[in-house]
């Protein structure tokens, strides 16, 4: 659409917007919030909630022969219409007027609020949505405070099991249909629908069908009330106690932008954050719920050395020195390092330095390949394969040397192995405990106990992606930042800290004091990062590589925007 600007008066002030902008978006851009429930920029606009009704005006149609007089700014008079219009679906045009504070608009909002509440259970004290409920918010802002409703409320099903991860309370539902539209328009799994009619309208799944697709929890995010709640998050915490930090999901190479909520060091939920270059406003359920391991009993919390009676805890100083001494005791050609494409660029930069320091040539990461689901889950299940390839300077596909390393261990060519951020006995890595036992030395840096750590002489407790700062590069080549959300358990340390200390112990002399500094060193050495800083990466990331790769879900969204079906 051409940037054909039109003049629009909002609450008495004139603004300019591209012609065709939805009134609700124009208001938002002008700093005027129009309350709404059913409208969602990524979904079609049914205009059903009527909360965004505003007073609208246009220049009067001149009588034959009459000419309207313009004011000194060239504006025509506005004739206000007696009937309110919905701001979500109507678009702006030249000399249009919008009143969001007028008596008519206010009475519309009061009326709609009252009607939305008459059959609502008002069970806020036990509702998970309380605190982030649009019904509560707009009730305070636009409601009357009292209730004239004296009848019995309509009874509907409660605590309905509609799928493994989502619960439904039909009495709380305000029939905005966002969830239905999401499942039909975005997830292509139209299992939700309305049954019955009128005031008895009921959100439902068909008996025998479930809302169980990998995007089901997005319905909870977009539900403006507490009708749909997350089975995982239900009754865990009042939302106003949550501390929210922006980060990215590391479940696959998409790097969906997230907001991670925690309380007193425990992560309680993860929700998507809008980024129209990455994940729109959605994320998959698997990635979203993949944080419970952070609180696992199996977390490594102390540096460990293996002795005749198994592992024992030692100080960091001793552990790091032992690791350094052991590695230094092998010929370069006998050492291999297997890092992880789940590590940050900063971690990986120090791995690179470590390899250089030790003269190690056998260096790779573990590949994790699955299938692209056509939505957001990328075929590459590692969050930072592109970063690993760039930073480690891998000359072949990440993971392609691992098979050779396994052979070399078998043949005895490799005698010492350092595994960083990977359990080598995982199916993706494919090392058997027997193979690992052939090594003369095995060191492990990881956040959670595993079979590799079992076999390792030195085990250093690292950090999960929820506990570290740093950057990653997603499958489309976008450089994004992740942030520490919760503190590290016990004595565990961020991987870059461990690696820096290891390098120092090997007399590598890297004195980086922060991940920002590590990034600066990286930027000096790896040309793709040149001129960038970690702090300078925007919350929405930035393009690092032009890969030409597109995200099918985003492409579909663009098509719908072009057709005017959604705002985007």
């Amino acid at each position: 659409m051409a940037d054909d600007l039109v003049n629009v008066q909002i609450d008495g002030t004139w603004h300019q917007f591209p012609k065709g902008t939805r009134m609700i978006e124009a208001c938002r851009q002008a700093g005027v919030e129009v309350p709404h429930y059913c409208y969602h920029p990524k979904l079609s606009s049914p205009g059903n909630c009527r909360m965004c009704l505003v007073e609208m005006g246009m220049p009067p149609r001149p009588k034959p022969g009459e000419e309207l007089t313009r004011d000194e700014d060239g504006r025509l008079p506005i004739q206000w219409m007696p009937r309110p219009v919905i701001a979500c679906a109507n678009t702006v045009s030249e000399n249009l007027g919008i009143r969001t504070e007028s008596a008519l608009t206010k009475s519309c909002r009061e009326g709609v609020m009252e009607l939305l509440l008459i059959n609502h259970p008002l069970d806020c004290p036990i509702c998970d949505q309380a605190g982030e409920c649009r019904l509560q918010e707009f009730s305070v802002e636009h409601g009357t405070g009292g209730s004239r409703f004296r009848e019995d409320k309509v009874k509907k099903p409660k605590n309905v099991d509609i799928g493994p991860r989502v619960r439904l309370d039909d009495e709380r539902c305000i029939m905005c249909s966002r969830c239905i539209r999401f499942t039909a328009e975005v997830a292509d799994d139209p299992v939700l629908g309305f049954t019955e009619r009128g005031s008895h309208t009921t959100l439902a799944v068909h008996p025998g069908r479930r809302l169980e697709n990998n995007y089901s929890l997005n319905t909870v995010d977009i539900c403006p009330v507490g009708a749909l709640t997350s089975t995982d998050f239900r009754f865990q915490m009042r939302v106003w106690f949550l501390k929210e930090i922006e980060s990215i999901c590391t479940g696959c190479g998409r790097g969906c932008n997230t907001e991670v909520s925690s309380r007193e060091g425990s992560i309680l939920r993860q929700t998507p954050r809008e980024n129209n270059e990455v994940n729109s406003t959605w994320m998959c359920d698997r990635g979203r719920l993949d944080f419970h391991y952070v609180n696992s009993e199996a977390r490594l919390t102390q540096p460990l050395l293996k002795g005749s009676e198994g592992h024992r805890a030692v100080s960091w100083k001793i552990a790091v020195k032992t690791l350094a001494d052991n590695l230094a005791g092998f010929e370069s050609s006998k050492i291999a390092i297997i890092a992880s494409a789940r590590l940050t660029n900063e971690d990986l930069y120090l791995v690179r330095r470590l390899a250089q320091q030790l003269g190690v040539k056998e260096l790779d990461v573990i590949a994790r390949l699955g299938e692209d689901d056509g939505y957001l889950v990328a075929a590459d299940r590692n969050p930072n394969s592109r970063g690993a390839a760039l930073v480690l300077g891998l000359d072949s596909e990440p993971g392609s040397r691992v098979c050779g390393i396994r052979r070399d261990i078998e043949s005895g060519k490799i005698a010492a192995l350092l595994a960083i951020g990977e359990d080598l006995t995982s199916p993706e890595a494919g090392f058997s405990p027997a193979l690992l036992s052939q090594l003369e030395f095995l060191g492990q840096i990881h956040h959670t106990a595993n079979s590799t750590a079992d076999a390792a002489a030195v085990v250093l407790p690292g950090a999960t992606s929820f506990e570290k700062s740093g950057s990653m590069v997603n499958v489309t080549g976008r450089l994004q930042r992740l942030a520490p959300v919760v503190p590290l358990p016990g004595e565990a340390r961020e991987d870059w800290v461990i690696l820096r200390d290891l390098l120092q112990a090997l007399d590598g002399g890297n004195g980086a004091g922060s991940s920002d500094e590590v990034f600066s060193l990286l930027a000096q050495e790896v040309s793709a990062f040149e001129g960038r800083t970690l702090a300078g990466i925007s919350p929405l990331g930035e393009v690092l590589l032009e890969t030409g790769e597109t995200v099918p879900l985003l492409e579909r969204e663009k098509e719908r925007i072009a057709k005017g079906e959604i705002v985007g």
Binding site: G193, F194, H206
Partner: protein
């Protein structure tokens, strides 16, 4: 799929679907009408069958079935009677007509409610439903017995009406 649709009914359905060359989904109502005519009501299986037939999700069919009072989800009596409740008929005595019909058929009208719009007589011969405007206000009160419209049915003649279908 446990719904067994006779071949001739399925043939009729397939022919109906051809009336909607642009979208099979449009055939939801006609398919449901044919199934209801044959089975007397629309079971969960009928919903699933229809969905499979038209390439839809079952909920997309259930949404439609539950919207329209013309579709029944429970078995009616052998003869289903719909009495008009709306203004002109009510003014002409349709509430009394309903009561008298229920009484004559041995139907407990108190069992009729939002989720069970009609009630069936103990012997299963009749079911009665109070419905909205049947668009015959000039000859009120009226009722539809199966497909037959009966006009100017004075409440006193309720037993006679039932007798015609016994």
């Amino acid at each position: 799929m446990s719904l067994s649709v006779p071949a001739d009914i399925e043939k009729e359905i397939d022919e109906r679907i051809t009336h909607y060359p642009v979208s099979r989904r449009s055939a939801v109502l006609p398919v449901l009408h044919i199934l209801q005519r044959h089975f007397r009501f629309l079971s969960e299986d009928a919903v699933s069958w229809t969905a499979a037939k038209l390439g839809l999700e079952p909920i997309q069919v259930l949404e439609v079935v539950t919207f329209y009072p013309g579709f029944r989800q429970e078995a009616p009596g052998k003869v289903h009677i719909r009495v008009c409740r709306t203004l002109s008929c009510a003014m002409a005595g349709s509430y009394e007509l309903l009561d008298n019909l229920c009484q004559a058929a041995g139907i407990d009208a108190s069992r009729m409610g939002h989720h069970h719009p009609f009630a069936v007589s103990k012997d299963g011969r009749f079911s009665i439903e109070f419905v909205e405007c049947l668009a015959s206000c000039g000859s009120a009160p009226v009722c539809l017995v199966e497909d037959e419209l009966h006009e100017r049915v004075s409440p006193e003649t309720a037993p006679d009406l039932l007798a015609r279908y016994s």
